[in-house]
Symmetry: C2
Subunit: 240 residues, 2 copies
Amino acid sequence: MSSDVAHATPKYYLLKTELLGLMAGLRPGTLIPTERALAEKYATSRTTVRQAISELVAEGKLGRIQGHGTFVAPPKVTHVRQLTSFSDDARAQRLRSDSTVLALDVMISDAEVSAHLGLDQGKTVTRLERIRLIEGEPLAHETAWLPGKLPRFKSSLAKAGSLYAVLADVYGIRIAEVEDTVETALAGPEDVRRLGIEMGAPLLVVHRLARDAAGAPVEWTRSAFRGDRFRFVSRVKSGN
Amino acid sequence: MSSDVAHATPKYYLLKTELLGLMAGLRPGTLIPTERALAEKYATSRTTVRQAISELVAEGKLGRIQGHGTFVAPPKVTHVRQLTSFSDDARAQRLRSDSTVLALDVMISDAEVSAHLGLDQGKTVTRLERIRLIEGEPLAHETAWLPGKLPRFKSSLAKAGSLYAVLADVYGIRIAEVEDTVETALAGPEDVRRLGIEMGAPLLVVHRLARDAAGAPVEWTRSAFRGDRFRFVSRVKSGN
DNA sequence: GGTCAACATTGGCATAGACCAATGGTGTTG
DNA sequence: CAACACCATTGGTCTATGCCAATGTTGACC
């Protein structure tokens, strides 16, 4: 059942298994031999070594820094996502969360944002673009669009920290339902710059549409999570 | 803000953009030029062309068949996942779903399965391993473990088709809550064989734990979905 | 007319080598 | 002793090339 598979298994994949064995028992952060050293040790080319290492990096099992070396990666962070906000979710798991605001402005909605928020194109929307950090590490790039212009939004957000807390406490908007769409994507130059990952790294791209009790769209968000460091959990109970 | 990015953008990434332009307007299935032809046209090496194409394949924008060529891929399938079963979800979207049973047996639970189902190790569990098809196309490999041994399970499943329908109608077990864990992974030789995808293709690996109204684990499932063809949607209403 | 063998085409894997870019250490210098 | 220039090391990108494996077509043969 598996011998014909073994026959067809390419060399770089065998090397991947070899490296996993080599990594076993090493603590996260430990440097493994250089690409050139591995190529010589396993009598192969650096190209083949790099293909093996690249996949292990994409899987979150190795990390690498140009000029420094390749090292065993820390385990994935599991993030429980419910009706709540990023910061609440993190706090519930005793994880230190933080966020950097890249942009907070009022703009005219484009076709995509309009469609999701159920607005006519050209309406005013508030945009909030942030980097999400867990334990000090950049984990996601997130852009949220909210219908209309929210008075004193910036100062409220600065004080409360959490978007959902501001919506509830300052504007009386309560999220009653969310719809998350999850898909895979590969990191481009923008993602590389913002998240400090490498080109082509797998991402979990989540689009969230949140509605209030009346079913009116309250928020539409695009989040790009690092697929190599992140695990997404959602709980659903009966009654939906 | 973006000029320094452009400066650092590697050639294979520029080529990716170039290919996206070339693909625009082409119908799914249309062959694009061969790797060797593209290498010559854009005055680069085949290696670089392959790196660009490989990422587009991983993103689900291109597909390729050895000995045949590289073609524009069909759009992703959106799959809504709720408390319901795979077949119910698909039917709700007017998609033709099907599944192939690879294994259906009774076995002794290992450490991992025991832990998730809340059993002592070495207990009897029923295993159901299937390939899930949408519109005739393999979309996921799925293995479900259920506690104990279910009488007349095979014939019931053959008749009903849906696992959840069998649980409800034959055994009176109603799923009250599910917890899904989503993460990215890369396809290995097994996945390649079972799903007809290529080595290193991104996967969405979902672990689902389903419980009944009393909170007792009813089913633990590992599903590997093709990340290039699949989009995962979950809806959550308030009250959770 | 159908069957099968041979062959050209196309993607898949791997090699060897070159140069660039980031990092970190070394040693000089103020 | 601190700051800085230099340099070796290491990963990042790219080239050029060869052979293998799957596919599909062509043409010989029955």
